[in-house]
């Protein structure tokens, strides 16, 4: 199938982009790796596509002792290749390297992936576990939105019309943190049917388990509830069948094993 006819706008400033996006029938496009197929299937039928990936305001990178900030238009491949700052142990690089296929990673962006809010998206699940936030931009100012409350359901976010995700803030965990990320896929690069990301950060007293691929918003379990044994109960109302819930508990247990690597870590 071929897309419906649409205009393609390439703004050069955030102000211009925000104005173009605010028009009825307009839709932003970053890497286009999810939106492209939706256009071809005519699931998405925009009148205007507003290109964001080349906007200077979305490409900056900053690294401090507390937080890594990645511009929303940073592509997965740049993170995979270590061209931007990373957490200890190459946590971000390994997540990026597991997204779809290299051709997708070359164009797909971290901000675009978060805004698309696919329930099985790698960044949504892992960055929620890492307690990251998105910084947004509007003509009247921006806001910082923790990812834990960013997504309200499948392909739905709290973003207001015309609000642009400018950057992702990823807090650096404390020394000795543990990280686990396991997804069950039919094939490497395909969307997962079970996925769990787990951060254990004893220095900050943080323990966060996120279950993805539930068909809805990521499921965040914190503290003592961030435990594979709690996954079944947490997914009771998710609509997942018992086989899928079992698989989710298994990947959570494996993420825990990765994160603790045999260490006993406090909840």
């Amino acid at each position: 199938m071929k897309p419906v006819a649409f205009d393609h706008d390439c703004p050069v400033t955030l102000e211009e982009a925000a104005r173009l996006i605010a028009r009825p029938g307009a839709r932003p496009i970053a890497g286009g790796q999810s939106l492209g197929p939706m256009l071809n299937f005519r699931v998405a039928r925009p009148d205007h596509l507003v290109a964001l990936a080349a906007l200077a305001g979305l490409t900056g990178v900053e690294d401090t002792a507390q937080v890594i900030t990645l511009g929303a238009a940073t592509c997965h491949a740049a993170i995979e290749d270590g061209r931007v700052p990373d957490l200890p142990g190459g946590v971000l690089s390994r997540i990026a390297g597991g997204i779809a296929y290299r051709a997708v990673r070359n164009r797909g962006t971290i901000g675009g992936s978060l805004c698309h809010a696919d329930p099985g998206a790698d960044w949504l699940i892992t960055l929620t576990a890492l307690d990251a936030s998105v910084l947004t931009w509007t003509p009247s100012g921006g806001r910082m939105i923790p990812l834990a409350g960013f997504v309200t359901g499948a392909f739905r976010t709290v973003l207001a019309a015309g609000e642009i995700v400018q950057a992702v803030h990823i807090p650096r965990p404390g020394p000795g943190f543990g990280w686990g990320y396991v997804k069950a896929c039919r094939k490497p690069g395909e969307f997962a049917h079970a996925m769990a990301a787990l951060l254990v950060d004893p220095a900050r007293g943080v323990r966060r388990l996120v279950i993805g691929a539930t068909g809805g918003a990521p499921v965040l379990l914190q503290g003592v509830r961030a435990d594979p044994a709690c996954v079944g109960d947490a997914l009771a109302g998710s609509g997942l069948g018992r086989v899928e819930r079992r698989m989710q508990a298994v990947v959570a247990a494996r993420a825990l094993a990765q994160a603790t690597n045999g260490r006993v870590m406090p909840a």
Partner: protein, 793 residues
């Protein structure tokens, strides 16, 4: 691993390393690797416009009305507009067959999701799709049949209202098994299912039609495996004499059976090109391929095997259903699949008695097309599952049960219980080789001590594959297209090049190379100077095309025949130029030779075409162009065979299956080009892995296909195909020109059986098995959870 048998090229006189038996690089790869192949989608004609189809969103519905957009009504065509176009009909010759009529555009009612209802014409595909979206069709939805077992019930709704039931055909192989059933020491039963699949060549279907006023001829360029058969079928539907239809198949990006069909889209395009007076093009997209077009391979089996305590098979009792979809497709019909099930289910084994009921069931799905291996992937899975069941019941090793039942080498040639004539081979030896290759004892030792969530399993499959089916076979199966003599034209050009014109189609098999090797084998002309012409009904002799692992045997035989006859004429002329008697001369390395005297074939050609004054008046009046016809010495086919052995690990928590080792021993007789054969085996195994573990088109109860993108329809990719170890045995066929056997499909046949057996071997200690394909993570975990529940209750 090198073969150890006859390689005809090694012994041919004047061996130059290009003849039969040599792994020469593929001639056609130069253009493929440079991206200069020309597919339907690459072709642009002046004035050409694009087609998009309005397709039914319902599996079964009455067509109430079709409203065209008022401003573009002249660009939208429905069944009412296709004046005098006849439906596609493919009747089986078997008694009791019920005929279906597949309209080019639906009229009255639609019978599957994706059935074409209207066709729209515009300058671009996107605009044609805009137009299609503006066509308003009112449907009256009817109850849909999405499962063949439901459809076979007496009270089921009817796909074809006048039939009275939903059975295209029911067949019976009868035997009285009562005494065996009463006395057999070992009885095993299994109910098995294989998924509906969508064949997925890299290039989908596509067609360009134009009416050539000068020649009063429809020229249809289409991505097909059988240009001549499409011509015959299309001419019939359009009411044109065949000489007014020319079919061109340019480069074709894979077929596998998906392009062995006459398409409603071809009929529509052919009609429109003539009606509109400008060329039209339709390029199938993946959604059309997955959701709307022909499917394959959905079988259901109820099987009972009777055996001795030592594992010897006494009898097999089978009840098999094939979901044939809504229409009988042209030319293979709705019943080829089930006919094959009945006749080849016994596989390479001996047994005393065999009973088999088959049903070809009509449902509200796209029709089925025979996919690489046709029914064999399913029947091999079914039969090999029963072999493992007997092994489990008797406590014998699976490979020992097979060795006790395989037709032995000293019984060849062998007529089996369904009168299949196995031409040659040593089936037990092939199995012994793969048993040795995968170190069965070592894996068994590791299995004995495993206790974690990941379990090892070993699986085997062995099968024989009838290829190059001849007249009696296809007539016996009732197929409306019966192959006879295969023909080839061999023509010498004035400068000594050789053109080989064949009616088969090469769509990835490398036939532009292998047929040149055959020509080289006979005439010694360098393969660089041999051009294989195919894919055009105007340039090639009639052929049923490329299907059934037939080309290397049939077209190879035809090329050899034509080249031999051409060689006689070359000798007659060459002998005159050498001033010797024709029987004193011979052809060697592209020359006519008598003792130390030689004249090149190019000199012979130049003389005959351009300097006839140097020849006597009566030399070679027929010229240097020959049409040779060929049949094998028996028309019952060649039987290549292979044993597959696989070691898997099964993650019993997540249901993931990893293929750890895969060994194959195959025997394709004399291999014309061993490198190409290895490629065929590798590609086939990749598809077989898809059948085993990934590919499935599920339908909901309303008949909606649920895997309509490649994100949902899982195809195996590079990461899913392990390094294969392929061993060759070489047992020549006694019936073919060089001892070669058809080998194109075998790779796809063995993996479902071998992998399923391996997975179930891994799961056996846990008390579960998975009895349907594909074996998905969900099905494995589900089986283990169900078992756990039963244990608790």
């Amino acid at each position: 691993m090198a073969g150890d048998g006859i390689r005809a090229g090694d012994t041919a006189p004047g061996n130059t390393g290009q003849g039969v038996g040599h792994s020469v690089p593929r001639k056609e790869d130069d253009r493929y690797l440079r991206g200069t192949g020309e597919y339907v989608g690459d072709i642009r004609l002046a004035g050409m416009r694009e087609l998009a189809f309005v397709r039914s969103p319902y599996a079964h519905a009455r067509l109430v009305s079709i409203r065209k957009p008022a401003d573009a009504a002249h660009l939208v065509f429905t069944a009412d507009d296709l004046c005098d176009v006849l439906p596609i009909i493919a009747n089986s010759g078997l008694p009791g067959f019920k005929s279906s009529a597949q309209p080019a555009l639906a009229s009255g009612k639609v019978r599957h999701v994706g059935e074409a209802v209207a066709v729209c014409v515009a300058d671009t595909r996107a605009e044609a799709e805009d137009l299609a979206a503006a066509v308003i069709v009112e449907y009256d939805e009817l109850p849909a049949l999405s499962d063949m077992l439901d459809a076979a019930r007496p009270d089921a709704p009817l796909v074809h209202d006048h039939w009275g039931d939903n059975l295209f055909l029911q067949t019976r192989v009868e035997a009285d098994l009562a005494e065996i059933a009463r006395t057999a020491p070992v009885v095993v039963r299994r109910t098995l299912r294989t998924a509906r699949q969508c064949m997925s060549p890299m290039e989908g279907r596509g067609v360009i039609a134009r009416w050539e006023a000068r020649l009063e001829q429809l020229v249809l360029t289409t991505s097909t495996q059988m240009p001549h058969i499409v011509r015959t079928g299309l001419a019939g539907c359009l009411g044109l004499p065949e000489e007014q239809v020319r079919i061109i198949a340019p480069d074709v990006g894979g077929g596998f059976g998906y392009k062995g069909i006459l398409l409603p889209e071809e009929v529509c395009a052919g009609f429109l090109a003539r009606h509109l007076g400008h060329p039209v093009r339709w390029i199938e997209d993946r959604r059309e391929q997955l959701a709307g077009n022909a499917n394959c391979r959905e079988h259901h089996y109820d099987l009972t095997a009777y055996a001795d305590a030592d594992g010897r098979l006494i009898a097999l009792d089978a009840d098999a259903s094939v979901d044939a979809g809504a229409y009988s497709i042209y030319p293979f019909s709705a019943c080829l699949e089930a006919a094959q099930v009945a006749s080849i289910l016994p596989g390479p084994y001996r047994m005393d008695a065999y009973r088999c009921v088959t049903r070809s069931v009509a449902t509200n799905k796209a029709g089925i097309v025979p996919y690489r291996g046709v029914a064999r992937a399913g029947v091999c899975y079914a039969m090999e599952t029963m072999m493992d069941a007997i092994a489990a019941e008797t406590g014998l090793a699976p490979h020992l049960v097979r060795l006790r039942n395989l037709v032995p080498a000293d019984a060849m040639p062998f007529d089996n219980i369904t009168n299949k004539h196995f031409d040659s081979g040593d089936y037990p030896e092939a199995l012994r080789r793969v048993v040795a290759a995968i170190d069965v004892e070592g894996v068994r030792r590791r299995q004995a001590v495993q206790d974690g969530p990941v379990r090892l399993g070993i699986g085997f499959a062995i099968f024989c594959e009838q290829g190059a089916h001849g007249t009696s076979v296809y007539h016996g199966w009732g197929i409306p297209m019966v192959p006879g003599f295969e023909q080839a034209v061999a023509r010498l050009t004035p400068d000594g090049g050789l053109e080989l014109r064949v009616g088969i189609q090469s769509h990835g098999q490398g036939l532009e190379t292998t047929l040149a090797q055959v020509g080289h084998e006979i005439l010694g002309i360098s393969i660089e100077r041999i051009r294989v012409v195919h894919g055009d009904t105007a340039l090639t002799p009639y052929s049923t095309g490329t299907w059934g692992s037939r080309c290397m045997v049939m077209a190879g035989g035809a090329v050899a025949t034509a080249c031999r006859e051409l060689g006689e004429r070359i000798l007659a002329i060459g002998a005159h130029l050498l001033q010797v008697a024709p029987d004193a001369a011979r052809i060697e390395r592209g020359q006519v030779v008598c003792g130390a005297r030689t004249v090149s074939i190019s000199e012979v050609a130049r003389t005959w075409y351009l300097r006839p004054q140097e020849l006597p008046a009566d030399v070679c009046s027929g010229g240097l162009e020959i049409t040779g016809g060929y049949k094998t010495l028996r028309d019952t086919g060649t039987f290549s065979y292979a044993a597959h052995a696989v070691v898997v690990s099964v993650d019993t928590e997540l249901g993931d299956v990893a293929i750890l080792d895969y060994a194959i021993c195959e025997d394709g007789g004399v291999l014309v080009n061993p490198m190409i054969v290895d490629g065929q085996v590798h590609g086939g195994v990749a598809q077989g892995i898809g059948t085993a573990l990934y590919e499935e088109m599920p339908f909901d109860s309303a008949g909606q296909p649920l895997a309509t993108t490649l994100a949902d329809y899982m195809l195996p990719g590079a990461t899913e195909v392990p390094a294969l170890r392929v061993d060759h045995m070489v047992t020549p066929s006694p019936y073919s020109a060089f001892g070669q056997k058809g080998i194109g499909e075998g790779g796809a046949i063995g993996p479902p059986a071998a992998i399923a057996n391996a997975v179930n071997d891994a799961l056996r200690p846990l008390g579960v098995s998975v009895d349907r394909l594909p074996i998905t993570p969900h099905r494995i975990v589900q089986a283990l959870m169900d078992r756990c529940d039963r244990g608790v209750s």
